[in-house]
Symmetry: C2
Subunit: 408 residues, 2 copies
Amino acid sequence: MAKLPVSPLARPLPEMPPLAGVRLATAEAGIRYKGRADVLLAEFAEGTTVAGVFTKNLCPGAPVTYCREALQGGVARGLVVNAGNANVFNGVAGMRAVETTARAAAQTLGTTADQIFLASTGVIGEPLPAHKIVAVMDELQGRLAADGFAQAAGAIMTTDTFAKGATRRAKIGGVEVTINGIAKGSGMIAPDMATMLAFIFTDAAIPAQAMQAMLAKGVEHSFNCITIDSDTSTSDTVLLFATGQAGNKPVDDAAHLADFRRALHEVLHELALLVVRDGEGAQKLVTITVEGAVSHASAKRIGLAIANSPLVKTAIAGEDANWGRIVMAVGKAGEPADRDRLGVAVGGVWMAQNGGVVPGYDETPVVAHMKGGEIEITVDIGLGDGHATVWTCDLTHGYIDINGSYRS
Amino acid sequence: MAKLPVSPLARPLPEMPPLAGVRLATAEAGIRYKGRADVLLAEFAEGTTVAGVFTKNLCPGAPVTYCREALQGGVARGLVVNAGNANVFNGVAGMRAVETTARAAAQTLGTTADQIFLASTGVIGEPLPAHKIVAVMDELQGRLAADGFAQAAGAIMTTDTFAKGATRRAKIGGVEVTINGIAKGSGMIAPDMATMLAFIFTDAAIPAQAMQAMLAKGVEHSFNCITIDSDTSTSDTVLLFATGQAGNKPVDDAAHLADFRRALHEVLHELALLVVRDGEGAQKLVTITVEGAVSHASAKRIGLAIANSPLVKTAIAGEDANWGRIVMAVGKAGEPADRDRLGVAVGGVWMAQNGGVVPGYDETPVVAHMKGGEIEITVDIGLGDGHATVWTCDLTHGYIDINGSYRS
């Protein structure tokens, strides 16, 4: 397919510093793409702990099934990611491809297959030619280096139009640690989980169990609050690796880890929004805040009903502040709502309140807001204290172009 | 907005014969559209019974709230429908517009307002100028005639590109009765309910309670099995009026009414499919049959997950038999499914079975099928006996064009 134009909402890849205990390499295995890196190998220092959150799709890819099992051990020495083939719905051949890849990586890194993590992204239902990954393993090993995060972010892309990364520093017990994250994803994006793949690396020392809890909570408020097209991928994977090389004490204590948690959540949030910014065909980033619902969970469900409504999303693409469609979406969410208490604001201007148009409201600032690249919608349900924010993008001709022609 | 081209899936309006006890008239009230009829008045003979099914959207329009109440009486003498303004989310002004219209119609037809039924379709959140409807009431009365079904079908259209009607004959206790139905709808179409408006008329004599049960069941298998964009309208209304003029005995007995039920369900099914055929931007009518689910309800939920998937719908628009996306949609439905038992057929050809591609399957007939206007997808879940069929259309540039520019 023709190369897609870079999203108008793209952000430059930040400088991601090397992390003690992480070495990265990429190579061209030619799985589907030619003339670009399509395989990533990461090597982790001994003692690296790992946490993971995966798709809730009931027909997951073979790598997801494999990772869920590997995660039981709680330790990781390597990660292999390929782009171009998702290794989904390949039956026994899918599991064999996973085992072949894991065994080859384990041999290369001098460890056992159960400490290797895998992810694949791309076409569904075509056998993954694992031999092509095996064939570049030596080349990958020879290239392992500490400063490869930018290349890693590029190697895992499929329909992505820009590489995605985020970085933060935090202190644990006075010791400075670093978190780098990379992600890919632009279609088949909806909770749960709202990305294809994201990998977070840190030099902090954190027990696996504490990490799992922090990651799950962080994903709930980031990747699980974004939607591009309501479709849940079969491959969604978020993995967090902590090498323990920064020298902090590996204490499992909420107060001790507070600053790390803050930084981790910022990385997850930033990566999640980058995925929305690269939503297939996206021209506008849409932030939807729901207030006054009967609970936070109810607010989130209402927010996602709005964010998934094709009629709302096409109206935004048309720069039409169509609050009638927003009201429709609130009503279809099936959550407690009272037509005659509803309020809708766009760009901070309340267009409707208490179930009707605000008399004499001035459309001028709303029209101007709708022409921008970042749209803010606030809905007041008027019933309680539940609130939530979710993110999506508009639905444009670009989405149809991409998905009507690309077999993914 | 520019007039939309007629859907390539359109069907000609059938000849709908006059029905004893029903007189119809249309007029140009100029509510939003100019130069076309936008109001329908129907007059029913004394003794006409009525049944109704309405949107489950929790922010319904004022006419829906009004009709739910009027339905308690079980009898109808009149129906007023306007196109161009949905009278939704207008607060107290919305209820006042409803009352004004009902009172005027009641006076015109010599009855009371609680025997008048109302429906409105069009823009949300703009006050309905009921005075414009009142102004044409005398003109409507003067034009009431028995043969106005075709004009009635035209007067209730909004973004519809063709008028929709269906007709059937049935026997009740040896007496022949006739059923005519008209419908409108092409966007904001999803269960429940899957149409904007449908009105069914019969000269049969049927107790209101028996009619309500038959209508609810019929809607469940017709309008509630179609989806265009997953968005649930605030105005969806199906009303069934029975004038009792055909002379059959008004018996409430399942066997006695079997043939009428068959004919009614055929009318509902035909109207529902006409709505899908006029789906905004639709180029293909898609029939999705799910077999082998753990229950019929589960099969229907899986079918609707496939039918609502933007990735499946854009693939169909691109004439790509992308069964990987169908598998994804099965998995995201959250219903019992086993990746390794799944089968997917397109146009009757099994592409995937038992969780993988059918070895050496010939894509040629599938490619040919995808180029046609009517697409058949069958999914075998492989777990039980539950089955269901749902209908949708593809997602094309036309949908974006219509909804990115039209404020509805």
